[in-house]
């Protein structure tokens, strides 16, 4: 740098980027106009090039070639997305037959195919005019899933989903060839719904693999898997699965009606779909069950419920779902009745502890001392002697710390997660007690509450308990048991006001219908005679009164 430059004035350069609204904003939820395949291949090629913007889109492959049939050369091209198709399948079963075998199938000038039939010993020769479209479909492409399509939009959708489109000059149709071959996760053990006794398979991201998992378990032709698309841009494949001979047809109609009437650009996950088809908009309590277990889905399908799968998501939605379903584990039916019931009661207890324990603790220590034995009361008061904060501050501080530990435990890499949880909880708790910020009894309350929240099998459901717990804590602090009682009644009424696809969320607790499969206590395997009455299934009985025929 020279001296002149050193002393000269250089205005400061600011890099400034501001996102401004685009002047030609597109907001159109109407479907794109239909455009058919042209017999002129150049037009088709231009359409595809402009649709996919091949000059900037790097993974869109257009392979042009010549197809010779009847000594005539036809221009042709294949369009597919690199990475979504199986290259070997394209080479061996699409390009090779089209480019190589067509040379060997050259015909004479006026060659018409001859077929002969023998009827009543008379030989009749039929003259069949050569048809390129049929010839390719019948003789050239050895693919099991090959369809002819006339609409360009539909062809583009197929290509987007991993198929390959074959356009041939002079033909007003194009071939949609299923040669999907993208990399995907193989079927693995469930990540979030672990059980000890039972199947260890979980859904994956691919919808076809998921439907096959269900088919493998149910083995029945009455299992219907209806496919539909959601999302104007993403065109996400959604499958509605149900047992045709068990489910109430009205339920299927309603599910399909809701899914077909969703207008949005993209559907990414099953959680998003669940929110879009749920009835209750104002209340954040889940009313649809989400699971990654095919065995759980099969169990519900056999009860007469529907399962909704979303492509690209390893979770299935079960509809309708009721309160007790959220407290049931897939393991329940695999265990002996006594053990299963013990676990269920434990989970229900965990539900109330998660929701009410901190609030109850505050209410008892603040208003209802008489509930506790005098010794325990003195011990609580003595433990709080050096704590300078009000109990509500202590509790909320510890609850938030616990939530922080839990959240960070999930976000950090898996090997560190468990360590972080233990170290965080131990060190933080011990330090907080030593520093006289909180009392030891409060640590016990927060820990029991936290443990109880982990015992709730459904993550979304346990999440709502974690949030509502804070409200009950405040109510307990303000008005003791009366506040908690009023809050609890509001909460119960909230649950009672909710519906899941026309089924009361608190069924079967308030209905007198016989609901053996889904009653509060689990019955032995030989007593599952009736399907849940609140779902109003077509087939009411799941098994005869005496299922152990060998015994009687």
């Amino acid at each position: 740098m020279n001296i002149k430059e050193l002393f000269s004035y250089h205005p400061k350069q600011y890099y400034n980027f501001e996102l401004k609204p685009t002047c030609n904003a597109l907001q159109n939820f109407e479907p794109a106009p239909k455009q058919n395949v042209s017999s002129n291949i150049e037009l088709n090629l231009k359409y595809i090039q402009s649709k996919y913007q091949t000059n900037i889109n790097s993974d869109i492959m257009i392979r042009t070639f010549n197809l010779i049939a009847q000594n005539r050369t036809y221009k042709a091209f294949l369009v597919y997305i690199d990475g979504m198709v199986d290259s070997k399948l394209i080479n061996d079963f699409v390009l090779e037959p089209l480019m190589l075998r067509s040379y060997s199938n050259t015909y004479t000038k006026n060659s018409n195919q001859l077929t002969s039939e023998n009827n009543y010993n008379i030989s009749v020769k039929k003259m069949t005019k050569f048809n390129l479209e049929n010839y390719i479909y019948d003789s050239l492409i050895p693919q099991n899933n090959l369809t002819k399509k006339t609409e360009l939009n539909k062809l583009v959708e197929s290509v987007n989903s991993g198929n390959c489109a074959l356009f041939i000059d002079t033909l007003e149709i194009a071939f949609d060839i299923d040669i999907k071959g993208f990399k995907q996760r193989s079927v693995d053990t469930p990540q979030n719904e672990n059980i000890i006794n039972g199947p260890q398979e979980a859904f994956v991201e691919n919808i076809r693999v998921n439907t096959s998992l269900l088919r493998r378990i149910l083995n029945n032709e009455n299992l219907i898997i209806e496919s539909m698309q959601v999302g104007e841009i993403s065109k996400t494949q959604v499958a509605v699965c149900y047992m045709q001979n068990i489910i109430n047809p009205e339920l299927v109609k309603e599910i399909k009606y809701r899914i077909n009437n969703i207008k949005l650009d993209s559907l990414i996950s099953s959680g998003q779909l669940a929110q879009l088809i749920e009835e209750n908009e104002k209340i954040d309590i889940p009313t649809l069950l989400e699971t990654e277990r095919p065995d759980k889905c099969s169990k519900f399908l056999m009860q007469g419920r529907a399962v909704i799968l979303v492509n690209g998501n390893p979770y299935a939605i079960i509809a309708p779902a009721v309160l007790i379903d959220f407290l049931a584990s897939p393991e329940d039916t695999n265990l002996k009745t006594l053990f299963a019931n013990f676990l269920k009661v434990l989970r229900i207890l965990a539900y109330f502890i998660t929701l009410l324990a901190p609030g109850m603790f505050i209410a008892i220590t603040g208003f209802h001392h008489e509930l506790l034995p005098t010794e325990l009361l003195f011990s609580i008061l003595a433990s709080r002697e050096h704590v300078p904060f009000p109990i509500i501050f202590e509790l909320i501080l510890m609850e938030i710390s616990f939530e922080l530990i839990r959240e960070s435990g999930i976000r950090v890499p898996a090997p560190i997660g468990a360590t972080l949880g233990i170290v965080g909880a131990l060190i933080l708790g011990d330090a907080a007690v030593s520093a006289h910020i909180v009392s030891p009894i409060l640590i016990i309350i927060v820990a029991i509450t936290g443990l109880s929240s982990f015992a709730i099998p459904d993550f979304a459901f346990s999440f709502h308990l974690r949030i509502y717990r804070f409200l009950f804590t405040l109510l307990g602090f303000c008005a003791g048991f009366i506040g908690i009682g009023a809050g609890l009644l509001v909460y119960i009424n909230m649950l009672c006001s909710m519906n899941s696809f026309g089924v009361s969320f608190v069924s079967p607790l308030t209905s007198s219908l016989s609901t053996h499969l889904n009653s509060f206590f689990i019955k032995p395997a030989w007593k599952y005679e009736k399907r849940p009455g609140f779902i109003q299934p077509k087939k009411k009985y799941a098994q005869p009164k005496i299922s152990k025929k060998w015994r009687y």
Binding site: F367, H368, E370, L371, P373, I482, A486, L489, S497
Partner: protein, 362 residues
């Protein structure tokens, strides 16, 4: 579309209204009035209650699926319907206000002596308002969930207190004399307070033809509940509760000792009572709204929730003096109960029955 109610939900709702009344006042009033004869009077009231319920249900069977407002419209047109409707609205609002005041008074006395009553009434009113906003279905479902717990609690209280019982308290068995115990004592039939709401249910029932069955089951359960409550209080206390302002059933809970861990269970009882009492407030509010909706032809009664609650809140706050409250509890509410539960429905049923008879067989 409004969901029709099942028999189980209706019976539980009616019982809830009676339970709330018995816990708060009527059991205490009965014992104060007839002293040692209260158990016998309860039995008599129970028999009379079942009998009257049966008669009224039988009369209402001539108009299956019609509630008392529909029947009054049939009898005297829109004018009679409006008069009867407004009469019931005023009665139910008064009951709502009285419930609010009595509950809040009890709570204040037990736990919040330093808190102004306005805050307690406001807390209960807000909870009632929020619940009413969830819709009608939730109220009856929630009540069905709570009533079995309340019912069980009463039995547990009775069992828990048995070792403190003094059977001699029921003697002299005729109390202050036959006339005082059985003739004047019959006015305590207002312990069947749930009965006031029974004839508003037929149009909301899944099986309206089973109204007699509902009425009888409710009456029998109400009798069992009343007898247990009265027996519990009577056997436990002699004369001491006459001077207490607290609900006698609450005091009886204080005597229970379940081992050494739980020293006193009264807080748990209060917790359960709060659930029941707010449910009762909600059922009451539901009927006020339904009647107003019916007589004004409103499509949605939700905008009326807070005006109705504010009215009840205002009345509850206005009942400052003990003498006013006593007059309302012991005299006016009894008279109004008899008028609106027995006299008015009976006149309407008989009138409508005669009109129907003469219309088709002139």
């Amino acid at each position: 579309m409004e969901r029709k109610l099942g028999n189980f939900e209706v019976i539980n709702s009616l019982i809830m209204m009676s339970i709330a009344d018995i816990v708060l006042t009527s059991a205490g009033i009965l014992i104060k009035e007839v002293n040692s004869a209260s158990l016998l009077t309860s039995c008599l009231i129970s028999i009379l209650g079942i009998f009257i319920t049966f008669i009224m249900c039988k009369l209402s069977k001539n108009f299956i699926g019609k509630d008392i407002l529909n029947i009054s419209e049939y009898l005297g047109g829109k004018i009679l319907k409006t008069i009867v409707g407004f009469g019931f609205v005023i009665y139910f609002i008064l009951i709502l206000a009285l419930f609010l005041r009595q509950t809040s008074d009890a709570m204040q006395l037990i736990y919040y002596p330093l808190t102004h009553i306005i805050f307690i009434i406001a807390l209960l009113s807000i909870a009632t308002g929020i619940i009413a906003n969830f819709g009608n279905n939730s109220i009856f479902k929630a009540t069905s969930l709570i009533v079995p717990f309340l019912y069980t609690a009463i039995f547990l209280i009775f069992i828990g207190n048995t070792k403190n019982f003094n059977i001699d308290n029921m003697f002299p068995i005729f109390g202050n004399g036959f006339n005082h115990s059985f003739i004047k004592g019959l006015t305590n039939i207002f312990t069947f307070s749930g009965l006031s709401y029974l004839f508003f249910f037929p149009s909301k029932l899944k099986k309206p033809e089973e109204i007699t069955k509902i009425g009888l089951i409710f009456s029998i359960l109400n009798c069992v509940y009343l007898i247990f409550c009265v027996a519990d209080i009577l056997f436990l206390f002699s004369d001491t509760m006459n001077h207490s302002q607290l609900p006698p059933l609450y005091i009886s809970v204080r005597y229970i000792e379940f081992g050494t861990f739980f020293q006193r269970m009264d807080a748990a009882f209060i917790f359960l009572c709060v659930l029941g009492l707010i449910s009762a407030l909600n059922i009451n509010l539901y009927f006020i709204l339904e009647i107003l909706k019916n007589i004004t032809n409103l499509s949605d009664s939700k905008p009326l929730i807070f005006p109705c609650l504010l009215t009840a809140f205002g009345i509850a706050l206005g009942l400052k003096q003990d003498s006013t409250l006593d007059f309302l509890e012991n005299s006016l509410s009894k008279i109004l109960f008899i008028v609106f539960t027995f006299v008015v429905p009976l006149i309407i049923f008989i009138g409508a029955f005669l009109k129907k008879k003469f219309k088709y067989n002139p």
